[in-house]
């Protein structure tokens, strides 16, 4: 019964929070309107979510988000440093091919986003069958080390959360 009423609990919660953020004042009326949206929108859009991602371990997910936030700050300082104080001729840019163990599209999407936001790497493309991801590295001495770091630091927790 609950499952049919709220087909996608995470989406409902997100909708309520975003609605409250948009109107910017928390009153009972707004909360009710938000809850109404949170109930109706997932019901209408349910056909477009054929297989819903399930978060297995919320705690690991929270830790992952914190790690990534920290890495974003570090990444920014690093990249700013590289841009300002490194001559263009000194760059060692590499394309790296990272084979993926992740299979679910949602997890791969999160991983690609994380790679782009974190130190010196931008995810550029997936293989046609989604088995590996192409990453561009702004400056690295050792591409293999970089690949292992991404697999260790980001892919492992995502595996735990999504699969």
């Amino acid at each position: 019964m609950i499952g049919r009423l709220i087909p996608h609990p995470l989406l409902s919660v997100t909708l309520v929070v975003v609605w409250l953020g948009l109107v910017n004042t928390v009153t009972l009326g707004n909360l009710l309107l938000g809850a109404f949206l949170g109930l109706v929108v997932p019901m209408i859009t349910a056909p477009y979510w054929p297989n819903r991602p399930r978060l297995r371990r919320p705690l690991v997910a929270v830790r992952y988000v914190l790690v990534v936030l920290w890495d974003i700050i570090v990444a920014n300082v690093q990249v700013a440093w590289i841009i300002l104080f490194k001559r263009n001729a000194d760059f060692r840019s590499h394309w790296i091919n990272i084979p993926l163990d992740l299979r679910s599209p949602e997890a791969i999407t999160v991983l690609a986003g994380t790679i782009t936001m974190t130190p010196g790497t931008v995810s550029a493309m997936l293989a046609a069958d989604g088995r590996s991801i192409l990453v561009h590295c702004l400056h690295t001495e050792d591409p293999d080390h970089e690949r292992d770091r991404i697999k260790q630091r980001y892919e492992r927790p995502l595996m735990e959360v999504f699969e």
Partner: protein, 135 residues
């Protein structure tokens, strides 16, 4: 408004400005397009994040009310920056890079820009494989 909060807000504003400037400067300075992609996706995003934190602190200290708008904008930008970066990289690869200049994908199928994804029925067999339509 107390002095410490004012200093904090000023620091965040200036930090935001500096990071934004560095990101845009990277756009001019770096050597090729893919390298240039690194500047705006990172430095500029943190720059705007700092500006939004400053604004949140300011409105909190002057009006006493927490405003969620900044959080929403930050969240939106942090979610969309990787996606647009990915799209721009792909657009660049399609027009400017030949297949043999990239490392091989190592799998049965090549990179999605050059190769078609496995046919639909095959996709159902190896379940969970990413549909190739997201290009």
């Amino acid at each position: 408004m107390s002095g410490i909060v004012e200093i904090l807000i000023s620091v965040f504003i200036v930090l935001g400005g500096v990071f934004g400037l560095v990101g845009s400067f990277g756009l001019v300075k770096l050597g090729n397009t893919i390298q240039r992609l690194h500047g705006p996706t990172k430095a500029t995003t943190l720059g705007i994040g700092c500006a939004l934190i400053a604004s949140m602190l300011y409105f909190f200290s002057s009006k006493g009310s927490v405003s969620f708008h900044e959080l929403l904008i930050t969240l939106f930008l942090f979610l969309t920056a990787p996606i647009s970066a990915n799209f721009i990289a792909k657009a660049y690869i399609v027009r400017n890079i030949e297949r043999h200049e990239l490392p091989a994908s190592g799998g049965e199928y090549g990179w999605s820009v050059y190769d078609d994804p496995p046919a639909l029925n095959q996709e159902k067999e190896n379940e969970g494989a990413r549909p190739g339509s997201i290009t």
